[in-house]
């Protein structure tokens, strides 16, 4: 654990936010589909937990549920979200409002569409100080400029009067970060914060996020499919597949000795700088449609080591070592095979699209 500051409340090991058997359901009545099927995870104070997986694994929905921002039609079908001891899964929009921005904040994948195109960026940040902190117009504006300086936007005084389309992608994401952190929230949820950015800018934004996290003693949830980013910035990793957690544990261990064939597949599809020209091994097939999740282990149709048992019996997420868990019947075998994996390219600057 890299808990660097005294925790707000409870014991140092108490999670700031935890999900218990969370189910997210699309639709009502007979035709419902579970998009997230029983996810449990703990995010300890001051740590960074990464949630990784392919598109459609339910990782972004899981993140949105922690802000009460589920898209229309998707509801919490079961389980709970507990933030700092308070259950949140059944809060109303009105009850969510005071928590957002102050307790938990979120930054999104595409900062251009996430910012309002018709409002000057300074005003969009100042909104936090004016409407949430109750500051006057002038003071709110000054604080907005200050927070833009903090995230490294040059010439902030003048740039505050610009509109989002006048910024580069990286600068826009800095604006989003300034906005999300303006009220000193305790938890920051970053949903693919670098995916929409140029490769050269991605590292800068991740460095900024890590720096702000350390300066403020933030707790962070990082949603990503970029294992390079994850290995460099996350303390622990949760791997999701078809709406379930298939593996979790400290990121260094999971990414050096994965205990689930899906994690192995994700890692093999990341380019390795030390093996230039080596063929990338994509995981064969597509992630399943949530309406027709395969029987047994949802990953078995794509799994190189699938056996009869995998087709019939749903593997439980079970401990496979200190603080580690895997939902594979043959986790021990997978860990044993780890030797033939390329070492984690934790210094890699190249992003892998899993």
């Amino acid at each position: 654990m890299t808990d660097t500051r005294p925790p707000h409340g409870g014991t140092p090991t108490a999670p700031l936010i935890s999900l218990t058997d969370l189910r997210l359901t699309l639709g009502r009545g007979a035709g419902t589909v579970d998009l997230v099927r029983g996810v449990s995870l703990d995010v300890p104070q001051g740590t960074t937990v990464a949630i990784v997986g392919e598109s459609g694994s339910g990782k972004s929905l899981t993140a949105l549920s922690m802000m009460g921002l589920l898209p229309p039609g998707v509801t919490v079908g079961g389980g709970d979200i507990v933030f700092d001891g308070t259950p949140m899964a059944r809060l109303t929009e009105r009850e969510w409002q005071p928590l957002r921005g102050r307790q938990l904040s979120m930054i999104f994948q595409d900062p251009l569409s996430a910012l309002n195109p018709c409002i000057r960026v300074g005003d969009q940040i100042a909104e936090m100080f004016r409407l949430r902190a109750g500051l006057g117009r002038r003071e709110a504006r000054d604080r907005a400029v200050e927070s833009m300086v903090e995230v490294g936007i040059p010439d902030a005084e003048r740039r505050a009067r610009s509109y989002p389309h006048e910024f580069s992608g990286g600068m826009r994401q800095r604006v989003m970060i300034a906005m999300a952190l303006s009220l000193q929230p305790r938890l920051l949820i970053a949903d693919e914060p670098t995916t929409a950015l140029d490769v050269t800018v991605q590292a800068q934004i991740m460095r900024l996020l890590v720096a702000r996290k350390q300066a403020r003693g933030l707790t962070m949830i990082l949603i990503s499919h970029d294992l390079g980013v994850v290995s460099r910035s996350a303390d622990s990793v949760v791997v999701m597949y078809a709406g379930r957690v298939v593996e979790s544990g400290p990121s260094r261990e999971v990414l050096t000795r994965p205990a689930h064939p899906y994690t192995v597949g994700l890692m093999r599809s990341v380019p390795d700088r030390r093996r230039p020209g080596a063929a990338l091994e994509a995981i064969p097939g597509q992630p399943p449609d949530p309406r027709t999740v395969p029987s047994g282990c949802a990953f078995h149709p794509r799994c190189p080591m699938a056996r009869d048992r995998c087709r019939t019996e749903v593997p439980a997420l079970r401990p496979v070592g200190p603080a580690r868990a895997s939902a594979c019947h043959f986790a021990d075998e997978v860990v044993g095979d780890g030797a033939n994996l390329p070492e984690t390219n934790d210094a890699s600057e190249v992003s892998g699209h899993a």
Partner: protein
Amino acid sequence: MLRFVLKRLAQALLIILASLTVVFLVVRVAPGDPAALILGASASPSDLADLRRELGLDEPLLSQYVTFLHGVLQGDFGSSWRLGGDALANVLDRLPATLQLSACALVVTLVVGFPLGVVSARRAGSWIDRLISVPTLLGQALPSFWVGVMLILIFSRTLDVLPATADGTVASLVLPSVTLALPFLGWLARLVRNGVLEELGKDYVRTARSKGVDSRVVFYRHVVRNMMIPVVTLLGLLVGNFIANAVIIEVVFAWPGVGSLMIDSITNRDYSVVQAAIMTITVAYVLLNLLVDFLYVKLDPRLNPEHMS
């Protein structure tokens, strides 16, 4: 910004010139001889020829056109043979009545149409949304002249609560402005409804919600501002319809405006007044469109030359 303004003004002048040309030609191609109308059926052919010469109607079309443009440049559309006096002065005399009616109708359109659209969008799919869609669709589907006559029948003839024609009272404004507003009110309500629904699905709305501001702030500060962009664009396209409807409604309610003057002048072949009236209407159309363009740029910073990166 200055370049944008100058460019738009130049375009506006071209539109006015083009419409003047079309009017000049249409009036002369339309059957009917002004000289015969002025002098009546008993006029002798030589009297007719004299009057035509006096009015310049015997000259070749091109030289008539040059004379016409020359006059227009000096604000001289000739004089009205029917009403006497300067044609343009006659038209401008009637302008306040038209502006009064249009302004009233515009206010009714905005004050009723906008909230209806907002309510429909916020309760999309509910019974209230469907309830609102009935009058808004009917308003668009029914022709204004028919609605005007029906309103006169109901509120003036039968109930006798409102005057049917202009009598200088505020009450006499009610029926014509409601009739004029009705189709546009429906348009606006639907535009606003669909605009809001489209904007609500966008990412910046989720961001605004993630900031924890009140849902009314999310709606009125974030959504409405963006939704106004397509609404204003489409309103710009409706300016022409609005003017055309206003002309019809002035006739139905005998409203003493530019529209009814123009129709009277057309039936009487009072060319100079027709030309002056159409010129006035064209200028109004061009000005309204300019206004919409500026509003559009004001609303959408991405189109503002000052904010082009």
